[in-house]
């Protein structure tokens, strides 16, 4: 898997495809409050975009490497935990976003908290999908 399997057709076609995948992933994430979607689906789409680049252009296209993927997934879990912990400072329970005074009403603060933890879920799922692809296709390093 050192060099990708993309010929000239794939190499041109995925350049047109990639921006739409990325925009669709962000739309699935941000519009998850009002339509089907959410963090897990958006994370799968973002991971798919990075995997597609590595499949077509080979492993030399170091867009998101394994080190960055580990950082991303751990950062996603930490964002989730951090937003859950945030409500402690205003006397709420763990993951009780309604007490955080960022919006006028508790319902709006809850909507914002839901969006925040969905971002965390997205980063975690994206990082883990990239980790799985990268670890399984990695070449054995010579001694």
């Amino acid at each position: 898997m050192h060099s990708g399997f993309g010929g000239i057709v794939l190499n041109i076609a995925f350049r047109f495809l990639l921006p739409f995948i990325l925009v669709f992933a962000v739309a699935v994430l941000m519009h998850g409050h009002h339509s089907p979607g959410g963090g897990f689906q958006a994370g799968a789409l973002l991971g798919l975009a990075v995997i597609l680049v590595q499949l077509v252009q080979g492993r030399d296209a170091k867009w998101v490497g394994r080190r960055e993927a580990v950082t991303l997934s751990c950062a996603g879990a930490l964002i989730y935990l951090g937003i859950g912990t945030l409500s402690f400072f205003w006397g709420g329970n763990f993951l009780d976003y309604g007490v955080v005074p960022v919006e006028a009403t508790a319902a709006k603060a809850r909507a914002l908290g839901i969006l925040g933890i969905e971002v965390g879920v997205t980063l975690a799922v994206m990082g883990v999908t990239i980790i799985m692809f990268d670890s399984l296709t990695r070449e054995r390093r010579e001694e």
Partner: protein, 97 residues
């Protein structure tokens, strides 16, 4: 020992099957969960969370502890994949063959 294990497994399995006869039928709108928990979510999810997608409201607000567990499981699985598949050195069992 093996026979006793099989006996107790069969006993517990039989108890589960016996208990399953008392479960409400699938799709019963009079089951305890459907008359107690579900109407609360359906009626007040939008006022309480400001989220029209009820699935997201349940997943990320009412049951956010559950989702936290899922995310942690996924991240731990990814870290395990990295630490197992990237192990190198003279004592690595993956390098033997």
């Amino acid at each position: 020992m093996k026979r006793a294990t099989l006996f107790f497994l069969a006993l517990i399995g039989g108890l589960f099957i016996y208990a399953s006869f008392d479960l409400p039928p699938v799709g019963d709108h009079q089951s305890p969960a459907a008359v107690h928990v579900s109407p609360r979510y359906i009626e007040s999810a939008y006022e309480e969370t400001g989220t029209r997608n009820m699935v997201v409201a349940v997943l990320a607000d009412y049951r956010s502890f559950d989702t936290l567990g899922e995310v942690l499981v996924i991240v731990i699985a990814g870290l395990a994949i990295v630490s197992i598949l990237s192990a190198r050195g003279p004592h690595c069992p993956l390098d033997d063959h």
